[in-house]
């Protein structure tokens, strides 16, 4: 009796916790509402299964617990019931998988008009780079990293000269414009994670990964690192500020390009060094 | 990871074939009384030690399939610079083939109850296996002498690592071979060592097979084959 009630209470308490929990996802700030919908759908299906199984167990414990003279039924199998349950499960699984795959297809298909934004992780800070007037980012290489060129940008690449470099500062993005975030790292794995955007992807030294999203509301959002990257992993923070076009351009005007940042002397030095290798 | 998937598919096929003979569709609650399964029906099920060796070889096979997977995954990257394979490896391969043949000979001698043949086969098999190992070491020295150090390039690292792992397995085999030889020496009764000799021979053939596959991979022979597979997959 007590066991059955406690099992029932576990089911009820879990559902109540879910319904009344003040801990819920952060308000969405990107176009990925589909992800949220898929999660909600998954919660409904799995929640129903969980409650059904636990309540059925509680019923069995209540109804069939040992009493003097009770004898269990002899019931080795029931083909038909088993097949029905399997088919039902398969349908439930398909109902979650199909929308998931559709949304994943959107997630990995970057729209043609997305602007590139580069995010670079290193222990333990974030740096950002936006393409200049030419709309293209220059190449980079971890071998070129030096105190004068902390992002390891290629000084010989004409595309890179007008790239806007944002270091030790927040990233600004215009609202409503799709962004393709190019992710790279110069030391270990990191993961550029803004909870409000829902999207995330690891950054791997030696290659460039990406994801895309469209910021849908203005505001300031906190950046965290989601892939363990060493001692100060938890302190690797930054901010993304999503703002209207006008403010964004005002901010953009104040930023400096790679060519401006690297004094002629240091550029010459880098060229000399790479030339000698 | 295609090499290991292929390997696992092979294992799954064997497991599936075996399970298919075990009456997995039977309804055990209806079957009262003594049931005889495959083990007893055939009357001559292989000895336990042989099955044990078979399972062990599956584990070792999985290990090498994983090395091959890692190798072929790395090989596809643009900066891959394969190292020149020393000619000595061909001599070593010959020694290993010889070793395998000698052990096979020892096994057939054991089946004929020819104790001298067994001893001769085991000793020459062991000797040529040791020759193989020494040859491998010399090949390493040649490479190192030519400036191909273990850490200077991923291809070099893989070469040293894979040959080392193969060599270690052969050394483990030599321990078993040594024990078998001393048993033959002491007991003179061939019937009692026949199984040990057979197990050694199987292990040797297996390591020879693994070596030939690795050699094909390291010398780049299988590149064409790998390319074909990749085109089929994509």
């Amino acid at each position: 009796m007590a066991v059955a009630i406690i099992l029932l209470l576990v089911a009820i308490a879990s559902v109540a916790f879910h319904l009344f929990s003040p801990w819920w996802w952060t308000p969405l700030a990107s176009n990925w509402s589909y992800i949220d919908h898929t999660i909600t759908l998954t919660f409904w299906i799995t929640g129903a299964v969980f409650v059904a199984v636990v309540v059925f167990m509680a019923y069995c414990v209540l109804r069939f617990h040992h009493k003097e003279g009770r004898r269990a039924a002899y019931n080795p199998e029931n083909k038909r019931l088993e097949w029905w349950l399997s088919v039902g499960t398969a349908i439930g699984v398909a109902a979650m998988l199909a929308p998931g795959l559709v949304v994943w297809h959107q997630f990995v298909t970057v729209p043609a008009d997305a602007t590139d934004v580069e995010v670079m992780g290193q222990q333990w800070q974030w740096s950002y780079r936006l393409p200049g007037k030419d709309g293209r980012l220059g190449t980079s290489d971890a071998r070129l990293v030096s105190p004068d060129n902390p992002m390891g940008l290629n000084p010989d690449d004409p595309n890179g000269k007008d790239d806007i470099v944002v270091q030790n500062d927040d990233l600004h993005l215009p609202v409503g414009k799709p962004v393709k975030v190019l992710l790279r790292s110069i030391d270990v794995l990191h993961d550029f994670y803004v909870p409000e955007f829902r999207a995330k992807m690891d950054m791997i030294p030696g290659s460039v990964t990406y994801y895309w999203f469209t910021p849908t509301r203005t505001g300031t959002f906190e950046v965290l690192c989601a892939e363990l990257c060493g001692a100060a992993h938890a302190q690797m923070r930054s901010k993304v500020i999503v703002e209207e076009d006008k403010e964004y351009h005002a901010w953009l005007e104040k930023q400096r390009t790679f060519a401006e940042l690297s004094s002629p002397r240091s550029v010459a030095k880098v060229i000399y060094k790479t030339g000698s290798e | 990871m295609s090499a290991i998937i292929l390997f696992m598919a092979g294992i799954a096929a064997i497991a599936g074939w075996w399970l298919s003979q075990q009456r997995l569709a039977a309804k055990p609650w209806l079957e009262e009384g003594v049931l005889v399964d495959l083990r007893e029906q055939s009357g001559s099920s292989p000895p336990t030690a042989k099955i044990g060796l078979g399972v062990f070889l599956a584990v070792v096979g999985s290990l090498f399939a994983l090395f091959i997977s890692a190798y072929s995954m790395r090989m596809t990257m643009v900066d891959w610079r394969a190292l020149p394979v020393p000619a000595l490896l061909w001599f070593n391969t010959g020694a290993l083939v010889l070793s395998s043949v000698a052990l096979q000979w020892a096994y057939t001698a054991a089946r004929r109850d020819d104790i001298d043949g067994v001893i001769l086969g085991l000793l020459s098999g062991g000797a040529s296996a040791v020759t193989f190992l020494i040859g491998q070491l010399l090949a390493w020295r040649q490479l190192a002498g030519a400036g191909y150090f273990v850490a200077s390039n991923p291809a070099n690292s893989f070469f040293y690592l894979i040959t080392a792992v193969h060599g270690l397995h052969l050394m483990g085999g030599l321990v078993a071979l040594g024990r078998t030889t001393s048993k033959v020496w002491r007991s003179a009764e061939v019937i009692r060592v026949r199984l040990s000799v057979e197990l050694c021979a199987i292990y040797w053939h297996f390591l020879l097979l693994v070596w030939l596959v690795l050699l094909g991979l390291l010398t780049g022979w299988t590149d064409g084959f790998v390319d074909i597979c990749r085109q089929l997959l994509t």
Partner: protein
């Protein structure tokens, strides 16, 4: 009924370890320390695993203290926190659960359940334990070397695992990798035994379809482990070489603390593929024995045959095979080719179907049963609740796009603790309460046992159920202190504190359990040979605890499956597996 040609059977010798080959201890040392008896090895494995598990439990207290009350305990710094999570994870997954299920339960139960005298290679079996012990010693030694244990997370992802920004990168990681290599060697020795014993040493009449599901679970898990652990071996060896010799298997060109390193050309993703090629089957290596044990516990304590035995067996085999083609669902956000996501999400969700079938058959076994709410049964019920909960959240994480916001958050931590932490531990406890009488001849104390059960089950549920919601909120994992973060409300810190208190209470309940284990050894109620009225073979030994060689003079002969409970027309409510059918006795062909 199937026609069985009894007369043809008579001439076939029973499959067993011959009296000559059977190992006989000659002294106290070879009987209790360097023993080749699987039962002694099982106890050695279990004690070692539980001891190292206690270390991991203490580490979890320290972690929870830090998370619940950040800044209060000055003796835990961020580096140590990372070392705690790494050691806790590695110990729990490999050195406790794998060793306990396969080395502990496997060694004890396989020979008894299949009706063998011992494992088929007793000497190798003994070596297996001692290599395992060495691996544990090497692992523990990381606490005492300069720099301390590794702090790279239990996944040991390079490049950071061997770079200077991570604690324990000088000695800790080297010893950890060496310990893993030893563990795998030791496990392979043991695993060969478990597999070949099931293949070869089953007694007469013990066909595969008459094996108890515990044996099916352990057998399949061992086959998987034998094939999957080499992937961890390959990854460990290569990482070790990267650390020691400066090779670049996993190390691309990179900058370490502003300095360009000599590494170049390696692939960090390759490590992840190798690691998870082991890591995912590992989940089922832990889960399948638990599935088997739970099936047996439910059937025995509900006095009812397991519902859908055939489906159970097929599901175990299907799960075992499928679990090798789902590994990359741990890598959806690792930066691998995005199109892999379609394939691995599909295979991952397909594996949910055989798993669900198992859950259905358990609850349908309860239905119309005669449920004795003994402690093993309670643990089985708790297993179903926690396993269903954790399994269902797996459907979130396996569905590739849903995984994107949730991966690397506390949701993942909650999920895997529920499904491969709490649930298998419930199966372990249930198994111990169930088989302790066979191992020692005495029952565990009932009052302490019920206390232990309720605190462990409800406490653990109270820790890990709410934790999902912190992950949903966006709280990342492996943070020693979330600190001032805009989207984290103050109430989340209160919830963390609540979970920490619950964790401490659950932890102390485990001390009660350990006390019970020791106390009952001397003061427990005498159990007799078959206190639960179980039909499977291990309860039919002539002696309790089973003597050397398990079966006295003659091996048992098996006449039926392991689940003949409440058979219509039978006298008692169970029929032992080795009880001959009535007709056979009349013919005089029985034992």
């Amino acid at each position: 009924m199937v026609d069985v040609p009894f007369d043809t059977v008579a001439g076939i010798p029973p499959a067993e370890v011959g009296e000559v080959d059977l190992y006989h201890p000659k002294s106290w040392w070879t009987r209790y320390v360097f023993s080749q008896d699987a039962k002694v090895i099982a106890i050695q494995y279990s004690i070692t695993a539980m001891s190292i598990g206690m270390v991991a439990l203490v580490l979890s207290w320290l972690m929870r203290l830090q998370l619940g009350f950040p800044g209060t305990f000055s003796f835990i710094d961020p580096n140590q926190y990372l070392q705690f999570i790494t050691m806790h994870g590695m110990i729990m997954v490999i050195y406790l659960l794998t060793a306990l299920f396969l080395g502990g339960f496997g060694n004890y139960l396989i020979p008894l359940m299949v009706g063998a005298r011992d494992m088929v290679f007793p000497y190798v079996n003994m070596l297996s334990y001692w290599v395992y012990l060495l691996a544990v010693v090497v692992l523990v030694s990381t606490f005492f070397v300069p720099g301390g244990p590794p702090g790279a997370g239990w996944t040991l992802y390079p490049p950071q695992a061997i770079l200077s920004g991570t604690p324990g990168q000088d000695w800790g990681i080297i010893l950890m990798l060496a310990s893993l290599i030893l563990f795998i060697i030791g496990f392979t020795m043991g695993g060969l035994n478990y597999v070949v014993t099931v293949l070869q040493a089953r007694t007469r009449g013990m066909t595969l379809m008459r094996l108890p599901l515990t044996v099916w679970g352990i057998f399949t898990a061992t086959v998987m482990a034998l094939l999957a652990f080499p992937a961890l071996l390959v990854a460990s060896v290569m990482l070790l070489l990267d650390r020691l010799l400066g090779t670049s298997f996993f190390m691309p060109t990179l900058v370490e603390m502003g300095q360009l390193t000599k590494y170049g050309g390696g692939s960090p993703i390759l490590f992840q593929h190798l690691f998870w090629f082991f890591g995912h089957p590992e989940v089922y290596i832990v889960a399948l024995p638990a599935f088997g044990i739970i099936s047996d516990l439910i059937s025995v304590h509900a006095r009812k045959n397991i519902f859908g035995y055939r489906m159970m067996v097929w599901a175990i085999v299907a799960i075992g095979a499928l679990s090798f083609v789902v590994w990359a669902h741990h890598m959806y956000v690792s930066g691998m080719h995005p199109y892999f996501g379609f394939f691995f999400a599909t295979t991952t969700l397909i594996i949910a179907i055989p798993t669900a079938i198992k859950v259905y058959t358990w609850v349908l076994t309860l239905w119309r049963g005669d449920i004795h709410l003994t402690i093993p049964m309670l643990f089985a019920l708790a297993f179903i609740v926690t396993f269903v909960n954790g399994g269902l959240t797996g459907l979130f994480l396996g569905n590739v796009v849903v995984d994107v916001p949730l991966s690397d958050t506390m949701f993942v931590v909650a999920h895997f603790h529920m499904v491969m932490g709490i649930a298998p531990i419930m199966a372990v406890f249930g198994g111990i309460y169930h088989w302790y009488p066979k191992i020692t001849g005495r029952m565990l104390n009932e009052v302490l046992g019920r206390f232990h059960f309720w605190v462990s089950f409800l406490g653990a549920y109270a820790i890990f159920f709410p934790m999902h919601y912190l992950g949903l909120l966006g709280m990342p994992r492996r943070y020693h202190d979330i600190g001032e973060t805009a989207f984290v409300p103050a109430s989340a810190h209160d919830l963390n504190a609540f979970m920490s208190v619950a964790a401490l209470i659950v932890g102390f309940a485990q001390l009660v359990f350990l006390f019970n284990l020791v106390w009952s050894l001397f003061k427990g109620k005498e159990a007799g040979g078959n206190p639960w009225g179980a039909a499977s073979l291990e309860w039919q030994t002539p002696e309790t605890p089973p003597g050397h060689g398990n079966w006295g003079k003659e091996l048992p002969i098996v006449y039926r499956w392991a689940y003949d409970y409440s058979v219509p027309g039978a006298a008692g409510d169970f029929v032992p597996q080795n009880e001959p059918p009535a007709g056979l006795l009349a013919q005089g062909a029985g034992p």
